[in-house]
């Protein structure tokens, strides 16, 4: 084993910087010293306090419902669009790629403000439906980029073979195409579920009196650092890590990682 290079040491320090603060939040959630000045021993009190709070529980339930519907809609939008893209003409494809890229890069606050005006204009009451409409704008864009990157690596000869053997398009899609896309669909679904569960900006603009979990936590975080907030934050961290581990467990770490890394929004509109 040779001496670690400067590059390796630097990388190690950056990774430490990325992880340490999150670990501190999780540890503080168990810290029985409520001033958080020092570590006063382990306690589960903050968790039971936070999760027995009915506003936290109802916000969590709203967020889960929003995220489930947003994920389903995102996949319904992204899968066919990705399949379409590989045979589309150059200009039509550029239009899809350009709008997909814009939905990701444009500061969320601009899109959310516009949607807010639209719903006010047509007098559509703000609530779960409008939050979903806002989330799907960007979650479907992420899903499209991930699935499209996978579609680009597939050969179409298998589907053509299925068609030659007499499979109708739907059957060819279900039996041949979809299984090949499965890894990308799983990663896309879990990632956009996580993003929807985590969104503040669109949710704050489009929620009316409905409160999602991130909006509730955001309100708490603006004013205090308390052990309860740490407990909720730790809970959210665990939840997001569960979706990540799920993709790793279903697909293997290597496939999952390569799908996330392989999805390149920057190439979508070049």
């Amino acid at each position: 084993m040779k001496r670690p290079s400067g590059l390796a040491v630097f990388t190690g320090l950056v990774l430490l910087f990325l992880f340490a603060p999150i670990i501190v939040v999780v540890l503080n959630a168990f810290n029985s010293n409520n001033t958080l000045d020092s570590f006063g021993g382990f306690t589960g009190r903050w968790f039971s306090q936070a999760f027995s709070d009915s506003s936290v529980r109802s916000a969590l339930w709203v967020s889960v419902r929003v995220a489930l519907v947003s994920t389903a809609l995102s996949l319904i939008i992204a899968i066919p669009a990705s399949l379409w893209a590989r045979r589309a003409g150059r200009r039509a494809r550029a239009l899809l790629d350009g709008t997909t890229y814009m939905r990701i890069v444009l500061p969320e606050i601009v899109a959310a403000a516009g949607l807010f005006l639209l719903f006010r204009r047509v007098n559509f009451g703000l609530g779960i439906a409008t939050i979903i409409a806002g989330h799907v704008v960007f979650t479907s864009a992420y899903a499209t980029i991930i699935i499209q990157a996978r579609v680009a690596t597939l050969s179409i000869s298998l589907e053509e073979a299925a068609a030659d053997l007499g499979a109708v398009p739907w059957r060819a899609f279900r039996r041949v195409t979809l299984p090949m896309l499965r890894p990308a669909v799983i990663v896309a679904g879990l990632l956009v579920f996580t993003f929807s569960m985590d969104d503040v900006v669109s949710s704050a603009f489009l929620s009316g009196n409905t409160v999602t979990l991130p909006v509730l936590i955001f309100g708490l975080m603006r004013f205090h650092v308390t052990p309860e907030v740490n407990a909720i934050a730790a809970g959210v961290t665990v939840l997001t890590l569960v979706t990540f581990s799920l993709s790793a467990a279903l697909l293997g770490l290597r496939t999952g990682a390569s799908i996330v890394v392989g999805a390149r929004p920057e190439e979508a509109s070049s």
Partner: protein, 288 residues
């Protein structure tokens, strides 16, 4: 691809079938274009329309028209300072992300096998972890004794640090992809031809990684200019960024035309920047 073209030819020869197949193919993209049109493009057009209206001071309703009143309001000092601060903080954080992210991405691209996988996962996990929690994690860090027990909170530094921390994975991933594609033979032949470490980096690696650098800078710099969450949590309402000013107009002041003018200005400015950057990098690539 050739077999696809052949199959397509066969379909169109079948006449009416071909038209129907094409229609069916086109309908695949309808959900995407439909959703984008209704919930993204129309709202942006509506923003532009509102931005040229104004608010009636007595009835407090939106009056339509073609006045640029809201746009001249954008240039008032109060808002200009928030806009200037947004640009400064986001470009500063972007440069910091690039400086910290490049060595990391380069190191990961040099690794192989299991080691590379673990390092990649170590970048993906924070990217996957709640953005809100990561922002909040910075308050915990800045509350630490050795960082002044919270003295740095509610300062522009805290907001810039928050952007740097939360957006860093978005810089590393595209950089890694670009660096990973560089043929190791190019690096070696540069070394064989006598290029030292630094000139190898400057003359060979950085130019080849340019697409990743551009992509990373756009992915970090553009969305972070409109930040709302980070300044709210780490700036404590004292360090406002563009997102906060826009949100205020919609959520408390109720001056929609002015809020719309702010949002449209941001969108226009960022579009110009992105197009300019992409053009410059395309030209660079054409020359190379």
């Amino acid at each position: 691809m050739a077999s696809g073209a052949l199959a397509g030819g066969g379909v169109s020869r079948a006449g009416g079938w071909g038209a129907r197949r094409r229609l069916a193919k086109g309908s695949l993209v309808l959900p995407a274009f439909g959703w984008t049109a209704v919930f993204f493009v129309i709202p942006l057009i509506l923003l532009i329309a509102y931005s040229f209206g104004h608010i009636d001071i007595i009835t407090f309703t939106v009056q339509w028209g073609w006045t640029t009143r809201s746009y001249s309001q954008v240039f008032q000092s109060l808002y200009l300072s928030a806009i200037g601060r947004s640009l400064l903080l986001s470009s500063g954080a972007t440069v910091a992300c690039l400086l910290a992210g490049f060595p990391v991405a380069y190191y990961i691209s040099l690794q192989r096998g299991r080691r590379q996988l673990i390092l990649l996962v170590a970048i993906i996990v924070p990217f996957w972890t709640s953005f809100l929690v990561r922002t909040y994690a910075m308050t915990n860090l800045l509350n630490a004794h050795w960082l002044g027990s919270g003295k740095l909170l509610d300062t522009p530094f805290a907001v810039g640090l928050g952007i740097f921390y939360t957006y860093l994975p978005l810089m590393v991933l595209p950089l890694y992809v670009a660096l990973e594609r560089i043929d190791p033979a190019l690096r070696e032949s540069a070394a064989d031809l006598g290029a030292g470490g630094f000139s190898r980096l400057r003359r060979v690696i950085i130019p080849l990684a340019m697409p990743g650098i551009v992509a990373g800078c756009i992915l970090v710099g553009v969305p972070s200019t409109g930040e709302y969450v980070i300044p709210s949590i780490l700036g404590g309402g004292k360090v406002l960024m563009y997102g906060n000013v826009v949100a205020d107009q919609f959520q408390s002041t109720g001056n929609y035309p002015f809020g719309a003018a702010l949002a449209v200005s941001l969108m226009a400015a960022l579009t110009v920047v992105v197009l300019a950057v992409r053009r410059a990098s395309a030209r660079r690539e054409a020359l190379a």
